[in-house]
Each structure stands twice: as structure tokens, then as C-alpha cells.
């Protein structure tokens, strides 16, 4: 790994290449810049990008293993030669890009195992089985998988083992850190470890034991984001639905839609204000009345129900957008009721209608076509691509996890953060400051995340996006709305004791399994931080919360990317 390219990037040492070729075969290792550029793009999808189309850091090489043993051999090879690595499943967004100049990208696309065990309502998957494929296979058995908000092209294994895992149908499909069953993992040292029933060679169904639930060291809320070796196979829980077989799709891209199955209804309830919505929510969560509850900001529904941005703008001006897309109707729930019998459906529909009415709510008028578009989006989790259409650059915010008690405050805080820059003349994508996506998990608690739209081609807009992100954290420090789900990297340490000992424990885990920090990422925890620094960092919170400091940090992020 001695030489450097004319761009100052490290090159693959011939000795390492030979070793990797011996492990993988020559055709499964490359350092061809034309191919590697595909692993170094920088779009601002999910993150704040820099001004360059490409990331500053490129992998030294891309390795394509086909088995867990090959993954382990690559990791050991990296260790022998002092190289780092980054696992990459489908690479949706820029979250799988390498974060150090000495990293090899381990692209897991040849590991696409997918096996449905319908009676046990689960599947066994490899890293490159996509949510789309998993859902299509599961549907043949009257089942579905949880598809995270990112949409159908992501890897459920990457999601379940390593990155967040929440999605718009979490009311009935939970979240992937809870859907993960047994697991197989290559440690940053190259050892193969299995967890739960898989460690005893007894299948992929049980996540924990024998004894302690040690998976909790590796997977909390956020995931290690590639900072803890490579997960190669998991069992994943599936969810029974009221329809078996292929989901028929009608219409043309982008307005794909699907007919609602029998005994299914899609309603859009609108409340006079957020207090009324909150009170109704507590009622809607009793007795498991609704299959899905989703609160999308009106603009986001508008982008979904119109074919193009131009149509959206025109219809906004003409005031012809459907009711759910009208800004005043933000206190709302899109409700999916999926029943199996007429009697069940009657009870669910009548109950929902009675609850909505009792909180002075009403139901929006929608055409059948609009209903079918929303249903299709909901069932396959297509909102992110639709919402991305508006500006091409989105990132997200705090991720509140707590009681629905905080619903009105979450909306208010989100709007406050975005108000100035979404107004005409502001630096973010012009429009409504209401960008809050909200849904319940398992009939119990709220997830709320505030989407930030920026123009990735404008440095000022990127800076505004970063500023908004930092303001969210600072506001949460001041007035907590619940756990901040999306705490990662340095922001965890600054948040400090407020979140207990989590960063310190994550660091213990990191140094226990990866003392040399070979499994490199920015999405986990700062490794090897001296205890004094760990202790004093939270004291800098007021400084990080200080507006001018935030502005400077935001400018740096806008220049260099996240």
C-alpha cells in the first residue's frame, strides 16, 4: 500500500492484491477507478454532501466476497497489512462509502441468500437480499417484511444489523433492530461469530442466548454503521398481511398505484389541531384498531400525489391540491385498516370513524386514484424517493422516541427550526417548515423525524441544512422531547451524561472487538477517546449550542460534507 495515485489516493499493494485474488479469484477484486467511482459518490442523499460529485475518499479497492469465510479472510488480510475496511450492502445513500484513505470496500452483493420460512413467519437473508426482493417473496406466503423509510432497494440485513431500522409501517411491522433474529458476524479481527440459535447450529430463529442477550452489545438503536465488522447472515421476522401473492401495480411511473385488497381501507383523518390529533392518537392506539398510522407533512403528500414538481407548484397556486396536501390540514393521520373478514372490517372502520369524530376530526375527500397511489406508497415504502424529488437533497433530524404526549411539541419544535430558511429568501428548499414524519411503533410509542430539504448544488443551502441539523440537537438539549434516536459519532459524546453511559459503553465494545479501528466508519462512536476527553466534552455543550459556533460548523460541513 505504498504508492499514491496522481490524485493522492493510496493504491493497492501488489502483494495485497495477490492475497485477495487468492481468496476471491481475480475477477472479484478491483481497483479500476472507473468501477471504484461507483463506490465514492456523494449525493447528499441522507447526508450533507460537499460541493464535489465524488467523495473525497475513495476505496483502495473493492472486494466481492461470496461466503462468510471469504469475508473473514479479507478482514484478516486487511489486518495483516494494516488496512481498514468498510462493509457495503446495497449502498443506498452515501452511508456505505469508505471514511479513511486506507480502506477497502467489502461489497457484499454476491451474498444474496434469501429463504422464506412461512410457517415460522421469518426469512433467512444475506446482505444483498433487498427489501423489495424479500417483500416480493414473502408476499407469496401472505407475509411482508418491514421496509424502512429509505424504500425497497435497501438491504434489510444492513438495516437490521447496522443502521437505524425504522419505517412508515412500524405500527405493525415494528423496527428492524427488533425484527433481527439469529445472526452471523465477522468481527473486525476476522473471526466468525454467530448469535442466538445459529451459534448452536440450530437455525436462525432465536436472537438471544444461551444466557445473556449479548446482541445488545452490537446493536442498540442506531447500529454500528459498519464500525464493528461485517454481518453476513441473519434471520428476520416477517409479518402476516391480509393478501397473498403479487401486489398488482396499475399506472405508469411515477404514479404507480395498487388496488386495495378486500376488507382494506385507506383513510385520511384531519384534526382541528395537534392537541386533538394527540388525544385521538391515544384512542387509536388502544385495541390495535389501525394497521398503519402515518403522519406525513402536507407538502410531502402533495409531492406524492402529483407527477412532477411543476404540477405540484401549479396546483399549489391553483389551490387544486387534494385535501391531505393542503398545508392547513397538517394535523392528520393517513390510516390503513387491513382486515380479514367483513365483521373485523366493520368493527375497525366504525371504531376509527367514531374516534376521529369524537376528537372533532373529519376524513379528507380523495379520488380512488389518489387513494391507490397512497396505498402503493405505504405498502412498499416509496415516500423517500417522492420526497427527494423536491430538491434532490434531504437529511433528517433528531428522531424522537417517546410517548405521543410529545406530538404537538415535536411539530412545533421542528417548524421553529426550519421556519426562517424555508421562507422565501431562506437558504433551504422554499416551502412549508412542516416536515415532520411521525408514526407509532407497535401500538405504543411515537417516532418523529424532521426532514430537512436543501439544494445540494448550493453551498449556502447545504450550510443551512447542516445548521438546521445542529439546531435540532441543541434544542433537544434544552427541552428534551424524548430520546434522540439519531445520535451518532461525536454528537453522542457532546450530549454526554444526558444519555447515560451509552457512548462510553459503545466505545468499550469498539475497543474490545476492534482495538486498532480497522472497521472504519463515522457512524458509530469515536474510538479510543481518552477518558478525560470523554468527561469534558459534554461541558462544551453550551458552546456547540451557541448560534455563531453552529454557523461556523455548518459552513465547514457544507464545504467538506458529512
Amino acid at each position: 500500500m505504498s504508492a499514491k495515485t496522481d490524485k493522492g489516493r493510496l493504491t493497492l499493494d501488489p502483494e495485497v492484491r495477490i492475497e485477495l485474488e487468492n481468496i476471491l479469484g481475480a475477477r472479484n477484486i478491483t481497483d479500476d477507478p472507473a468501477l471504484m467511482s461507483g463506490y465514492a459518490w456523494n449525493t447528499g442523499v441522507g447526508k450533507i454532501a460537499s460541493s464535489d460529485k465524488f467523495a473525497a475518499l475513495w476505496p483502495i479497492a473493492v472486494a466481492l466476497p461470496a461466503t462468510v469465510e471469504e469475508v473473514a479472510a479479507i478482514v484478516k488480510c486487511c489486518k495483516r497489512h494494516g488496512l481498514s475496511f468498510r462493509p457495503h450492502s446495497t449502498g443506498y445513500g452515501s452511508m456505505g462509502c469508505v471514511t479513511s484513505p486506507d480502506s477497502i470496500c467489502i461489497d457484499l452483493r454476491r451474498m444474496k441468500h434469501l429463504e422464506i420460512l412461512p410457517e415460522d413467519r421469518m426469512a433467512v437473508i444475506g446482505p444483498y437480499a433487498t427489501a423489495n426482493q424479500l417483500q416480493a417473496e414473502a408476499r407469496k406466503h401472505g407475509l411482508t417484511c418491514h421496509v424502512v423509510g429509505a424504500g425497497p432497494s435497501h438491504s434489510p440485513l444492513a438495516s437490521a444489523t447496522s443502521l437505524i431500522g425504522v419505517g412508515i409501517t412500524s405500527q405493525f411491522t415494528s423496527a428492524n433492530m427488533r425484527n433481527m433474529l439469529a445472526w452471523e458476524w465477522v468481527t473486525p479481527e476476522g473471526d466468525i461469530i454467530r448469535g442466538g440459535s445459529a451459534a448452536s447450529g440450530l437455525g436462525w430463529y432465536a436472537s438471544d442466548g444461551p444466557g445473556p442477550g449479548t446482541r445488545g452489545l452490537l446493536r442498540g438503536f442506531f447500529g454500528a454503521g459498519g464500525g464493528l465488522g461485517v454481518f453476513t447472515r441473519i434471520g428476520i421476522k416477517l409479518y402476516p398481511i391480509n393478501q397473498k401473492g403479487k401486489m398488482e401495480v396499475i399506472g405508469k411511473v411515477p404514479q404507480l398505484r395498487s388496488k386495495l385488497p378486500p376488507h382494506t381501507a385507506l383513510l385520511h383523518a384531519i384534526f382541528p389541531d395537534y392537541e386533538a390529533q394527540r388525544a385521538a392518537t391515544f384512542d387509536l392506539l388502544q385495541d390495535d384498531v389501525c394497521t398503519v398510522l402515518l403522519r406525513m407533512p402536507p407538502d410531502h403528500i402533495g409531492w406524492t400525489l402529483t407527477r412532477t414538481n411543476a404540477e405540484f407548484v401549479q396546483r399549489t397556486k391553483d389551490k387544486t391540491l387534494p385535501e391531505p396536501a393542503i398545508l392547513d390540514n397538517g394535523a392528520s393521520w393517513t390510516i390503513l385498516i387491513a382486515s380479514r373478514s367483513e365483521a373485523e372490517h366493520r368493527w375497525r372502520s366504525e371504531t376509527v370513524r367514531a374516534i376521529v369524530a369524537s376528537h372533532n376530526g373529519r376524513f379528507a375527500e380523495m379520488t380512488q386514484e389518489e387513494e391507490e397511489v397512497l396505498y402503493h406508497n405505504l405498502a412498499t415504502s416509496q415516500y423517500v424517493p417522492r420526497v427527494l424529488r423536491a430538491s434532490g437533497g434531504i437529511t433528517t433530524s433528531f428522531g424522537v422516541l417517546d410517548s405521543f404526549h410529545f406530538l404537538p411539541q415535536a411539530i412545533e419544535m421542528g417548524e421553529k427550526v426550519l421556519a426562517k430558511d424555508t421562507a422565501p429568501g431562506g437558504d433551504l428548499c422554499e416551502g412549508s417548515p412542516d416536515e415532520q414524519w411521525i408514526w407509532p411503533h407497535e401500538g405504543r410509542y411515537m417516532w418523529a423525524e424532521n426532514i430537512i430539504h436543501f439544494d445540494p448544488t448550493s453551498e449556502a443551502s447545504r450550510a443551512a441544512g447542516a445548521r438546521a441539523l445542529l439546531t435540532h440537537f441543541a434544542d433537544q438539549w434544552k427541552r428534551p422531547l424524548g430520546t434522540t434516536g439519531l445520535l451518532v459519532g461525536p454528537i453522542q459524546d457532546v450530549t454526554g451524561p444526558r444519555i447515560g453511559k451509552a457512548p462510553a459503553f459503545a466505545r468499550k465494545v469498539k475497543s474490545y472487538f476492534d482495538k486498532d479501528d480497522r472497521s472504519k466508519t463515522k457512524e458509530y462512536v469515536i474510538p479510543n477517546m481518552p477518558p478525560v476527553v470523554e468527561k469534558v466534552l459534554p461541558a462544551f455543550r453550551p458552546i456547540f449550542a451557541f448560534k455563531p459556533v453552529q454557523s461556523v460548523m455548518a459552513k465547514i460541513l457544507a464545504k467538506k460534507g458529512m
Binding site: 442466548g209 444466557g211 421476522k237 365483521a343 373485523e344 407497535e442
Partner: protein, 476 residues
């Protein structure tokens, strides 16, 4: 003998200490040096700090009454028991969010009374004895009978406070917030989330650890609303596959709050009948409860019952309201009725147990393998009951075999061989207890041992928490 930490109630009497040297299953020989009784989690922290300074092993215990399974019997000399059974406060309960925060001494005998004013009740395992600590039960991943809301093995935990073996206080899940617990509750936080914050899930790590990693000071626990209407029914068949299929469909369709399968011997025990009367019961029974909580409860229960009828018909199972002279609704009441004795001991005075996890799709095969062994062993005339509990909403099963027997009977060797046969047939002993404590690791490819050692190193670096409980537990 070391000096004990000041300000915490202690008992060094031989009588008290001796009581902790054994339990019902364990003829231990090591007498602890003292028993400490913390009354708040701050006391627990103080005890753990002292134990680290003085290298004193600690064995936490939260339940009262007859203890079993050996996990609260010291395995090293000079241990001190940390008896949390006096920490019995219900700290908070919230009807709207269906959640409560409790201390470890709150037991199944008292919890429903504590929760009743809040319109709630606890999720419980199958007929727990009244002295069993709710937190200890959930910590041991003891299965709850409510398959429908058992999404994941961490259930029914929300946020928690843990004092690790290293003496650190960790706030876990959505309890990880600034301010005291009172301040958090006043702001409206309800600690509904168990995983996290960030990328650790220490509640999950502590589950199944049998006191070897830390001590839970309090926990938010998901609760059930008190139903307005509740109806139970037996779905019976002579064929195991039939009832398992019916239960699977019902659980997948989420129409039952309680769902489990028992054979006639186990059902006889639950109904308070003697084993001879088991012959009058169906070979296999799926017990199902429907509940209507808030919204049109009669209507809800009616469509759920109708759906269950369709399922039973499809699989050829019979619906019965009454078995062995007792109605299904009566059994539902019995299941919530706190009694001090273990129901498995009532007829003969003692029992053997064996439990493991297994996929639902092959339940029939593993039971058949066990029956084959039992019928050719010395136990062929002994009653062995079966209890099958769907977990994670029917993704897999807890399978439990129970043999009631007279206190003096020597059946250990035969029971151990049943455990071995079961392992060969695919039993996954996720909770290593009793005769399968060692067997649980016999098929391990080394992974479980390594991970336990890792957890021990990180959470209990001085190895003070229940040492020697797992072979693999010594810190690196």
C-alpha cells in the same frame, strides 16, 4: 469476614444465610457471608462499589418464597446476597401509554393490585408463583402467555436503570434522559423504548444473564389495559399438529391476547385436577383468550371469536367452553390468581422441568422424539406434561416439559438423558438452567462463550456478579 457497607440493612444470622445456600433444585454447600437489603437503587450502587473495592462476590435476588434453578445460590465462597425484595414500589403507572415503572421487589402476587387503580395489569408467564419478582421473571426471558404483544424477547421491558457489575449507573432505552426520574416523568416522558440509546442495548444484555452482569434498579414495563370484555376458549384435538396449526393461524392473525398449547397432563395441572383425571381431557388443547379493552369490546371479541371458529374448522379442531369441569373463562381467572405454591408441585410435591426454544414448524417432530425416548426409558409410566408457548408473535416456541413426581424420587439421570435427547433433536436451551445448564453450551461453536466473556469484561470487569454461574464468564 469483610465489613459490610454502612447504612444498608444487613442480616448475618446463620439461619438467614443458610436459607440462601440452597434452593429447591440445588443442594448448594456454600453459605453466603451476609444478606444485604437495599431499599433504593442508590443503595445498590453503594453495595456494588463496595463489592468492587473489597472483591466481594454479589448474588442478586428479588423474589421471595421458594427459589429454584440455582441462579440465586452462590457458587463461590464469601458471597453476599443482595436481596431486592424490599424494593416494592410502583414508581409510576400511565393508563394512556399502558406502561408502569416498578422496582425489582414488586412481585406477581402484588402487581395487579398496584396497577388496578390505573386500569392496567401485568403481562405474566404461565401461573407464576406469587413471590416471583416481575423484573426477575422478565430478566430471565421467562415467556409471557401473551404471544400477541411479545414482539421481541426484550418484551415487556421499556427503559430501565441498571447498576453494572463495574458500578456504573446506566439509563437504558428511552430512560436515557437528563434529569431525575421524577423530573422526566413530570415532563411527560414514559420510557416506552427498551433499545438504545445510541448503539447499545444493555437491558437486552442483562436479560438471561442470571445476575452475572449487573443489577436492575427499576424498569418500565409494558402493561395490558384491563379488558372490559374477556372471553376464553379451549381449541382441542387428539393431534398436536392440528392445535399448533390453529394456534399459529390465530397468533399470526393477532386475534388472541393469550395463546398457548398444553397436553392433557399439563392442562390437568393448570385446572387443578390430578394426573389420573388427565385421561378425561383432550390430548392437546390450545387455550385462547380474546379481549376487548376500550372500543366496542363486545363487537371486537365477537369477530375475533368468529375468526377463531373459522380457523378451528379449517384445521379440524374442536372448540370447547369447558374441560374437566372447568370453563375456559375460569382458567383465565386462575392464570391471574396469585398463589404462593408452584402449580407443578401441587399433586406430588416436586417436579422436573425442561424448557427450550424451537421453531413452530417442527414442534411436532421434537415432541415425537422426546415421546419416543420417554416411552422406552424408566420414565415410561411417569406423567410428563407439555406446555408450548409461541414467542415473538409466533416466530418460535418456548417448549416446556414438566414431570411432577414425589419429593424423594430419584429421576435425575433419566431426566438428564431426556435433556440430551432433546438437544440432539434440536432443542435450543437459550436459558441455561437445571440439568441443561451445561448442555446449553454443548453445541455452541464458541460464539456464545466469547460473547459472554466480552459482556463480562465490559460490564463486570472485576467479576463480582454471581461468579461461576456460566463457564465462560470470567472477565478477560
Amino acid at each position: 469476614m469483610t465489613g459490610l457497607p454502612s447504612g444498608i440493612k444487613a442480616d448475618r444470622s446463620l439461619e438467614t444465610r443458610n436459607a440462601f445456600a440452597v434452593d429447591r433444585d440445588t443442594a448448594g454447600s456454600i453459605v453466603p457471608q451476609a444478606v444485604l437489603y437495599p431499599s433504593r437503587f442508590e443503595d445498590v450502587r453503594k453495595i456494588v462499589a463496595w463489592a468492587n473495592e473489597t472483591a466481594t462476590p454479589l448474588v442478586p435476588v428479588s423474589s421471595t418464597g421458594e427459589r429454584r434453578r440455582g441462579d440465586t445460590v452462590p457458587m463461590v465462597e464469601a458471597a453476599v446476597m443482595v436481596d431486592l425484595s424490599g424494593m416494592r414500589r410502583l414508581i409510576n403507572a400511565d393508563t394512556r401509554d399502558k406502561i408502569a415503572i416498578i422496582e425489582p421487589g414488586v412481585d406477581f402476587g402484588s402487581i395487579d393490585e398496584l396497577l388496578r387503580p390505573h386500569g392496567l395489569r401485568a403481562f405474566r408467564p404461565l401461573m407464576p408463583r406469587s413471590g416471583k419478582s416481575v423484573i426477575a421473571s422478565y430478566l430471565d426471558r421467562e415467556p409471557i402467555v401473551n404471544a400477541d404483544v411479545h414482539w421481541d424477547p426484550a418484551d415487556p421491558f421499556g427503559g430501565t436503570l441498571i447498576v453494572t457489575g463495574g458500578g456504573e449507573i446506566t439509563l437504558n432505552g428511552s430512560a436515557a434522559l437528563e434529569g431525575s426520574l421524577t423530573e422526566q416523568l413530570d415532563r411527560g416522558h414514559r420510557h416506552l423504548v427498551t433499545y438504545g440509546p445510541g448503539n447499545v442495548d444493555l437491558t437486552r444484555v442483562l436479560q438471561g444473564a442470571q445476575g452475572t452482569l449487573g443489577i436492575m434498579g427499576w424498569a418500565a414495563i409494558y402493561c395490558e389495559r384491563l379488558p372490559q370484555v374477556e372471553e376464553s376458549i379451549f381449541v382441542a384435538s387428539s393431534n398436536l399438529a392440528t392445535v399448533v396449526a390453529a394456534m399459529r393461524d390465530a397468533v399470526h392473525q393477532r386475534i388472541c391476547t393469550t395463546a398457548f398449547v398444553v397436553d392433557n397432563i399439563h392442562l390437568a395441572m393448570l385446572l387443578g385436577l390430578n394426573v389420573d383425571q388427565a385421561n378425561t381431557l383432550p390430548a392437546w388443547t390450545f387455550f385462547a383468550t380474546h379481549a376487548g379493552y376500550v372500543h366496542s369490546p363486545e363487537q371486537k371479541v365477537a369477530w375475533q371469536r368468529a375468526a377463531l371458529e373459522v380457523i378451528a374448522k379449517k384445521h379440524g379442531a374442536d372448540l370447547c367452553h369447558e374441560l374437566g369441569g372447568k370453563s375456559a373463562d375460569d382458567l383465565a381467572v386462575t392464570l391471574r390468581d396469585p398463589v404462593p405454591a408452584n402449580y407443578r408441585d401441587v399433586e406430588f410435591g416436586a417436579h422436573k422441568e425442561l424448557f427450550f426454544l424451537h421453531p413452530l414448524s417442527t414442534a411436532k417432530e421434537i415432541i415425537a422424539a422426546q415421546q419416543k425416548h420417554l416411552s422406552s426409558s424408566d420414565l415410561h409410566n411417569c406423567p410428563v406434561g407439555t406446555y408450548i408457548q409461541p414467542l415473538a408473535q409466533g416466530t418460535f416456541l418456548h417448549v416446556e416439559r414438566v414431570m411432577p413426581h414425589a419429593a424423594g424420587d430419584d429421576v435425575d439421570a433419566e431426566w438428564t438423558s431426556l435433556a440430551q435427547i432433546s438437544l440432539d433433536a434440536g432443542a435450543y436451551y437459550s436459558r441455561p438452567h437445571g440439568v441443561f445448564r451445561q448442555l446449553a453450551f454443548s453445541r455452541d461453536d464458541g460464539s456464545a462463550r466469547r460473547m459472554i466473556a466480552a459482556a463480562k469484561t465490559m460490564l463486570d470487569p472485576n467479576n463480582i456478579m454471581n461468579p461461576n454461574r456460566f463457564d465462560a464468564q470470567e472477565a478477560r
